[in-house]
Amino acid sequence: MNVLVVEDEKGLSHEMEIFLNKQGYQCDVAFNGKSASEKVFINAYDFVLLDLGLPDMDGLEVLKEAKKAGKESAFIILTARGATDDKIKGLDLGADDYLAKPFSLPELQSRMQAIVRRKHGLKTNTMKIKDFDLDILNRMVRCGKKDINLTKKEFDLLHYMALHKNRVLTRNQLTEHIWGDILEDDYESNYIDVHVKNLRKKLSAFAPVDFIETVRGIGYRINI
């Protein structure tokens, strides 16, 4: 899939490029609004990751022009401005999602995958992890024909790790995904460990769960 990263901070666009290339995306970069507009017109990108604070114009203008021209690329707005107005305006103009900086790269990838599923109405709304089937639409986990009762957060955790299979996810990345943008007074908690412990316990009653690996000092990884 082709992705255009529109970001004037070269450090940030570079890191996104490294990550997306590793995940198998074809990555292109634009550092300002003018070049972004040109690239969007010439190429058919699957994704445009759009920063709003561009040096020459407002990122929303790029989005507006592209939508006017009937471009079907999926737009994800990335901004550090954090103004709710921008978020509403962006989504109104036809953006597909919105991520506030700083965000974690796996979170960006999972949002992109969610858009792909939504846009293309993928029939495969199930994922297979060894003996377990994840029904993403109904948020259910089955082992054979048996339903496994997971809490919302346990399901989210398993789904997120499965999306990023074979990649180690830090506790912070998992926390950010599960608790989202809620501003609370804990910057570090062992809730993730508790969730993983409960998840292992519930799943292991049906089949072995050695595919969930604890990476010492870092986090967790699902190996498939």
């Binding site: 450090g11 954090g82 790269l105 969730h195």
Partner: protein, 441 residues
């Protein structure tokens, strides 16, 4: 008391003093005038009587009646008498006018009497001409009662007229108070249109408030811009660092010890990012960048928070109970802010609770408002510290190294923004209760 009522009352009071003093003086002045007129009449009659004597017109009467003569009309209002005098006194011949009570046919009648001695036919006489005072006194009494009635009517009329006038006069002032002060909760909702007035002072007041509000609005705009700039300038580099660290951690070729260090760096960075985000969040609420346009069910929001936080309860084996007499719909509110506020309070109740502890949430109506109480069986707070728990970066519990003391400042900011009254009661080592009072304006 309203200014216009005060002005009307002061006016009425000063007028009442003037009118009452006039009312007291008027009968005395009228009475003096009446005496003067009577005296003049008496003098005229005296002159006429003496002139009759000179022309011997009274001879027949005097001689026929044994040298003395007296006559009065049937209502005893006027009389004249001429009587002989034996002795010559030093006062003889001088005109004397005085009030005399006269006995006339067994009836005492008060008269104004002019008396004067004269010599006629080598005989000393005393002439007395009198006029009754009864009519004059009755007129005085009537005048006094009439004056009192008129006074009361004048004072009442004056109060009503003054009230009406001061209301018209104060109209622009009241409008300024309402539009420019009372109705303004934030500079963004301020109306800069001038209030129409021909009173110089009111126009000055209006323009002064406008100028002041322009300055406040500018300050708010600057703060808004500052928040936006700080967000961008601080969060963008953090974003770069975070993504770089993530890529290093995910790189299998990097040595494990380096990756472990990177995880530590990521943790520090996340902490920094959370502090900045929280401070910006608080600033944005204080800068009124959130809307208050939703009707929120308090019970549903708390139930959502409890569901979201359920695993944390299970982990510490805490029992949470809810008792609601009814739900409450908070008008002109913001669901996301309410969610964050309750999340922080309930999360605190879990965090600082004892293992196997309890949390009780109650919602009930009290008078015309709705109260939510959240009580835990936690470590409690010292009475002296209760007021400080809402201060930024203050932590009163044991240093767990995992919180940065911004949870309750968020609660305070949201409660203030949404006009929710908050109170905390706590007993050290026993429990802490958060009491939140909701009102629909």
């Amino acid at each position: 008391m309203k200014l216009q009522v005060k002005i009307a009352l002061y006016n009425a009071f000063s007028k009442a003093i003037i009118i009452i003093s006039m009312g007291l003086l008027l009968p005395a002045i009228v009475s003096k005038e009446a005496y003067n007129h009577t005296d003049e009449r008496l003098m005229a009659r005296q002159a006429s009587a003496l002139s009759m004597l000179k022309h011997h017109e009274l001879d027949a009467i005097i001689h026929a009646q044994d040298c003395s003569f007296g006559d009065y009309n049937i209502f005893k209002e006027e009389f004249i008498s001429i009587s002989p005098v034996e002795k010559l006194t030093p006062e003889f011949g001088k005109i004397k006018i005085e009030n005399v009570e006269m006995n006339m046919e067994n009836e005492v009648v008060k008269h104004r009497v002019l008396s004067q001695g004269f010599i006629y036919d080598n005989q000393l006489y005393n002439l007395q001409i009198g006029e009754g005072l009864k009519t004059m006194e009755q007129f005085n009494i009537s005048l006094r009662s009439f004056t009192i009635k008129v006074l009361i009517i004048v004072i009442l009329l004056s109060i009503f007229i003054d009230l009406g006038f001061s209301r018209i006069l104060m109209q622009p002032f009241n409008k300024i108070i309402k539009l420019k002060l009372k109705d303004v909760s934030h500079p963004t909702s301020f109306q800069f249109k001038s209030v129409k007035t021909s009173t110089t002072e009111f126009a000055y007041l209006d323009s002064s408030i406008n100028e002041m509000m322009i300055k406040i609005k500018e300050a708010f705009e600057i703060e808004k811009e500052f928040i936006s700039n700080v967000s961008h300038e601080l969060l963008t580099p953090i974003s770069i660092l975070q993504n770089r660290i993530e890529n290093i951690i995910a790189d299998e070729h990097v040595r494990e010890e380096v990756r472990l260090k990177m995880v530590e760096s990521e943790r520090t960075l996340i902490r920094l990012s959370k502090i900045i985000k929280t401070l910006l969040y608080i600033s944005k609420i204080e800068n009124e960048q959130y809307l208050k346009n939703e009707s929120c069910s308090i019970k549903s929001i708390i139930t959502d928070v409890v569901n979201e936080i359920e695993e944390r309860l299970t982990e510490k084996n805490i029992t949470l109970t809810q008792e609601w007499t009814e739900d409450f719909i908070h008008q002109a509110s913001n669901a996301s802010l309410l969610h964050t506020m309750f999340f922080n309070i309930i999360n605190n109740a879990i965090k600082y609770n004892k293992p196997d502890g309890r949390i009780g949430i109650k919602g009930f109506k009290e008078d015309n408002h709705f109260v939510v109480t959240i009580e835990d069986t936690g470590v409690g707070i010292n009475a002296a510290d209760i007021e400080k728990i809402f201060d930024r970066f203050k932590r009163f519990q044991q240093e767990d190294g995992k919180s940065f003391g911004l949870g309750l400042p968020i609660v305070k900011t949201i409660a203030n923004f949404l006009n929710i009254q908050r109170e905390v009661k706590s007993e050290k080592g026993v429990s802490t209760t958060f009491i939140l009072t909701f009102r629909n304006e």
